[in-house]
C-alpha cells in the first residue's frame, strides 16, 4: 500500500501532503518504523543515541493566559503563584552543574515560566547575565515564543530587539515550546490567548535570522486531527527550508509529545496511545527531511515506548530533565536516572553518548553523585 512512498524514501525524495496523510492512515506500524529507521540511519550512520544533561527551571507559575491543557499555571494574584528568588535559581543550577560537570556550555538550562506581568526584559537580562557569569558550563536554552512575545510587549520593544538583548545577556538558543499544534482553529480551542500559529513561526524565523538556533515541537493528541498534525509538520518544514537557505540559525531538532489530559480543563477521554506516538514520530521523521535530530519523549511515554521509538526515527533521548513541573502538574511523568537511560539505549543496540545543546559530543560523562537523590 505504501510501496511508492517507500520508493521515494529510498530515493531520498521529499514526501508531499497527500503522502503524509496516507502515512498517518497506514495502520502497519512496523512499515512506518522501517521507513523512519532507514531515514534515521541515513542522517546518523553511527549506532549512537545521544542525550543531554540538563534541567528545567520553572521560574514562575504566574500566568494570565489560562490554557486549557495546562495544569501548572496560577493567575496573577493567586495565593499559590510564585516567582523563584535568584538565589533559588542559582541553587538549582549548582545542583545541575554538580552532575553535569565543568565543560563549557555543556549543561542545558531550560527556563520556562508563565506570562507574568511583573517580569520585564530587565529581569531576564539581569538573571541571564549573572547565570552565565557564575556558571560557564551552563548553556541557556530557555524561554518560549509566548514568553518572548510577552516580554517584548510589556517592555515596549520589538521581538527582534528582545531576542538580541536576551542573546547579549546570555540566551544561546530558543526551545520550541508552545508550538502545540500550529493551527489557529486548534489553538482557539486549547490556547486561545496564546500567540497565533503565524506568530509562533515568525518568532522562530526572527531567531533564525539573527543567527540563533531553536527547536520545534508538537503537542498532539488534544482536539486536533491528523490533518492538523501534518499541516503543522509542513509549516515547520517550510520555515526550516527558509532558514537553511538563509544560513544562520535553524531548527536543530524536532520533539513531539502527547497532550496530558489529567488536571486540565479538557476532558480526559482520549489520551493519545503509545501506538499513536510511534506513528506520529515516524511520520514526522519521514516528512521533516530537513531536520537532523528527533528527540524522544520518555517523560510522557515512559521507558518502554520511548525505547521502541529509537526504531521509529528517534536518534536522541533529549535532556535528562532533573526537574519538570509542567507535565507532572498534569499527573503523568516518568523520570529516569542517566544510568537507566544509558541502559535502555544499550539494550536497543546503540551506544549512548552525551551531547551538548548544539548536538556536539561532551567528553565528560555524567557524575553519578546525587542521581539517586
Amino acid at each position: 500500500m505504501i510501496d511508492d512512498i517507500a520508493g521515494k524514501v529510498l530515493a531520498g525524495q521529499r514526501l508531499d501532503y497527500d503522502e503524509g496523510m496516507r502515512l498517518f492512515h497506514h495502520p502497519d506500524l512496523p512499515e512506518l518504523g522501517m521507513l523512519a529507521d532507514y531515514v534515521r540511519w541515513q542522517k546518523h550512520p553511527e549506532p549512537i543515541v545521544t542525550y543531554n544533561i540538563g534541567r528545567n527551571i520553572n521560574y514562575t507559575n504566574v500566568c494570565w493566559v489560562r490554557c486549557k491543557f495546562c495544569a501548572f499555571y496560577r493567575p496573577p494574584g493567586h495565593t499559590e503563584g510564585y516567582t523563584l528568588p535568584d538565589e533559588e535559581i542559582f541553587r538549582k543550577i549548582e545542583a545541575l552543574v554538580a552532575v553535569g560537570g565543568n565543560e563549557p556550555e555543556s549543561c542545558e538550562i531550560l527556563m520556562q515560566g508563565g506570562l507574568n506581568p511583573k517580569l520585564k526584559i530587565a529581569y531576564y537580562e539581569g538573571l541571564f547575565s549573572e547565570i552565565v557569569r557564575r556558571y560557564p558550563s551552563v548553556y541557556l536554552h530557555s524561554l518560549s515564543v509566548a514568553e518572548i512575545v510577552y516580554i517584548a510587549h510589556i517592555s515596549r520593544i520589538t521581538v527582534e530587539e528582545a531576542l538580541v538583548r536576551l542573546r547579549t545577556a546570555g540566551l544561546k538558543s530558543l526551545p520550541g515550546a508552545g508550538a502545540e499544534v500550529l493551527d489557529d482553529e486548534v489553538r482557539q480551542e486549547i490556547a486561545y490567548r496564546k500567540e497565533t500559529a503565524g506568530e509562533w513561526l515568525d518568532v522562530h524565523r526572527i531567531a533564525h535570522r539573527i543567527g540563533m538556533k531553536s527547536t520545534a515541537t508538537m503537542m498532539f493528541g488534544s482536539v486536533e486531527t491528523v490533518a492538523h498534525r501534518l499541516k503543522h509538520i509542513l509549516l515547520v518544514r517550510d520555515v526550516q527550508d527558509e532558514a537553511l537557505a538563509r544560513g544562520g540559525g535553524y531548527f536543530t531538532a524536532f520533539i513531539s509529545w502527547n497532550f496530558q489530559p489529567e488536571g486540565t480543563e479538557l476532558p480526559d477521554t482520549r489520551k493519545a496511545t503509545g501506538y499513536d506516538y510511534l506513528r506520529t514520530t515516524a511520520v514526522a521523521r519521514l516528512m521533516l527531511d530537513n531536520i537532523e535530530n528527533f528527540q524522544d519523549s520518555y517523560v510522557t511515554q515512559g521507558p518502554k515506548i520511548a525505547q521502541i521509538a529509537l526504531r521509529y526515527g528517534i536518534n536522541d533521548f533529549g535532556s535528562t530533565m532533573m526537574e519538570e513541573n509542567v507535565i507532572s502538574a498534569g499527573g503523568v511523568s516518568f523520570v529516569m536516572p542517566t544510568g537507566e537511560i544509558e541502559r535502555i539505549i544499550r539494550d536497543a543496540g546503540f551506544e549512548p553518548r552525551r551531547r551538548n545543546t548544539r548536538y556536539e559530543p561532551v567528553c565528560e560523562g555524567p557524575a553519578t553523585v546525587s542521581e539517586t537523590a
Binding site: A6, Y17, M34
Partner: protein, 382 residues
C-alpha cells in the same frame, strides 16, 4: 519495495522461508533474537499473523481468582507467594470463591482464570470443590485453571494417576489449563531461580498428558531475568515439538517479568523492544500454535497495542484483578476498560473479536475509529 528493507536488514533468507511456509530452524530463532532491525522482525511476524487471523484480534471478558498465595517453591522471580508459616498467607474457601464469582454476575464474563500457589495443606477434594463452586455460581463460564505445577501437586495429594486427576477436574468443570509455570526450559535457570519446582521435562509431560485426555492448555515463557537467548529458542522449539505431537496448545503467552518485590529485584527487567521481540519471535517460531497473546498486565497496555502489529492476535481480558478489587458498584470502570480495549484494537486498524477461554467467538463488535483519524474532520490543506 518494502522487501528492500528486509534484505537490507539481512533477513532475506528467513523472509523467503516465511513466504514459502517453511519451518524456521533453531539458528533462525537465534538470528531473530539478535538482529537489531526490530521493525523488520515485527513486519515478518505480522505476515504470519495476518495469514492466520487477518485483522481479527481476540479479547475476553474475564475474571481472575487466586485461591491461595501459600507456596513452598520459593521461586526467586516471584513476588506473589507467602511461605507456609507466613501470616500473610491465605486460602479462599469454596464459599469465598463463589462470592467473588457472584459479585460480577451482572457483567458478561465468559472466562474465569484461576491459579494459586503450591499449598501442600490443601486436600484433593478442595480443588474439585472450588471448581464446582465456580461452575455452580456461573454455569456458563469457561474455566481455565491450574498451572502444570499445581496439577502436579494436585496429583500428588490425590494419589491417583494423572489421567484420572484430569478426568476428575474436567468432570468438575475445568475447561482448559492456563499454561503458567513453564518459566524457561533450561536446567541452568531452573537451578538458579526455581529449583524447588519441577523442571521442563515434567512440565512438558504434564501438558502432554492433559492434551491427550482432551484438555487444552496455553503455554508461557517468563523472560527478562537471567535467561539466555539460546535457552529461549530451545524453549520455543520444545513447545513446537510438543504441539506437533498433540496440537493441544491454544495460545502462547510470553510473560514480561516484573522485578519489583522479588528476591532478584536488582535486575532491571525487560525493555519495550524486548517485549515486542518476544511476541514477534514467538509468532515466527511457533508456526503450529494458533494464538500469540500479548498480556497487557505484564508488558503494559501501550506495548500490547503495538504488539498487535508485531505478531500478537490476542490481548487477553478486559476485566482483571486490579479492577476487580475496585468498588463493584462502579462498573463504569469495567465498561470503560472494555470500551478502551475496543478503541485500542480499532486504532491499530484491527477487528475486535470477543472470545471465551477456548477461543469460541462470543461477539464481533463494530470497531469505532478514533475521531482524530477521520480524514474529512480536519481543516485540511497542504
Amino acid at each position: 519495495m518494502l522487501e528492500t528493507f528486509v534484505h537490507r536488514a539481512g533477513l532475506g533468507d528467513i523472509y523467503r522461508k516465511i513466504v514459502d511456509g517453511q519451518r524456521l530452524s533453531f539458528d533462525d530463532g537465534l538470528t531473530l533474537y539478535r538482529n537489531p532491525h526490530l521493525s523488520v522482525i515485527g513486519w515478518l511476524a505480522n505476515l504470519v499473523r495476518e495469514r492466520l487471523h487477518g485483522d481479527q484480534t481476540f479479547f475476553v471478558r474475564n475474571q481472575h481468582i487466586n485461591y491461595t498465595n501459600v507456596c513452598n517453591k520459593g521461586c526467586l522471580f516471584c513476588s506473589f507467594y507467602a511461605l507456609p508459616k507466613d501470616p500473610n498467607g491465605y486460602v479462599l474457601t469454596p464459599e469465598q470463591i463463589q462470592d467473588k464469582v457472584r459479585a460480577y454476575a451482572h457483567l458478561p464474563i465468559t472466562e474465569i482464570h484461576m491459579v494459586g500457589g503450591v499449598n501442600v495443606r490443601l486436600p484433593y477434594a478442595y480443588y474439585l470443590d472450588i471448581v464446582r463452586a465456580i461452575k455452580t455460581a456461573r454455569p456458563d463460564v469457561s474455566l481455565k485453571a491450574f498451572t502444570m505445577i499445581e496439577i502436579e501437586q494436585i496429583r500428588r495429594v490425590s494419589r491417583k494417576p494423572l489421567e484420572e486427576v484430569f478426568g476428575d477436574l474436567m468432570t468438575a468443570g475445568v475447561d482448559a489449563l492456563p499454561g503458567g509455570g513453564a518459566e524457561v526450559f533450561s536446567d541452568r535457570v531452573h537451578e538458579e531461580l526455581f529449583h524447588a519446582k519441577s523442571d521442563s521435562d515434567k512440565w512438558l509431560d504434564t501438558a502432554r498428558a492433559a492434551h491427550r485426555v482432551g484438555l487444552p492448555s496455553n503455554a508461557t515463557l517468563l523472560y527478562g531475568h537471567v535467561e539466555q537467548t539460546e535457552e529461549k529458542v530451545y524453549h520455543l522449539v520444545k513447545l513446537r515439538e510438543l504441539q506437533d505431537e498433540t496440537g493441544g496448545f491454544l495460545a502462547f503467552i510470553p510473560l514480561s517479568w516484573h522485578p519489583e518485590r522479588t528476591a532478584i529485584s536488582h535486575l532491571p527487567g525487560p525493555t519495550g523492544q524486548a517485549d515486542l521481540r518476544e511476541i514477534a519471535v514467538a509468532r515466527l517460531m511457533l508456526d503450529n500454535v494458533p494464538h500469540i497473546k500479548s498480556f497487557w498486565i505484564m508488558n503494559s497496555p501501550a506495548v500490547t497495542q503495538v504488539a498487535l502489529r508485531y505478531g500478537a492476535d490476542d490481548m487477553d481480558g478486559s476485566v482483571m484483578e486490579y479492577e476487580i478489587t475496585r468498588d463493584p458498584s462502579t462498573d463504569r470502570i469495567q465498561t470503560l476498560t472494555h470500551a478502551r480495549m475496543l478503541d485500542m484494537i480499532a486504532e491499530a486498524g484491527r477487528q475486535p473479536v470477543e472470545r471465551d477461554a477456548l477461543y469460541r467467538i462470543v461477539a464481533s463488535p463494530q470497531p469505532r475509529m478514533p475521531a482524530y483519524l477521520e480524514p474529512e474532520a480536519g481543516a485540511a490543506g497542504g
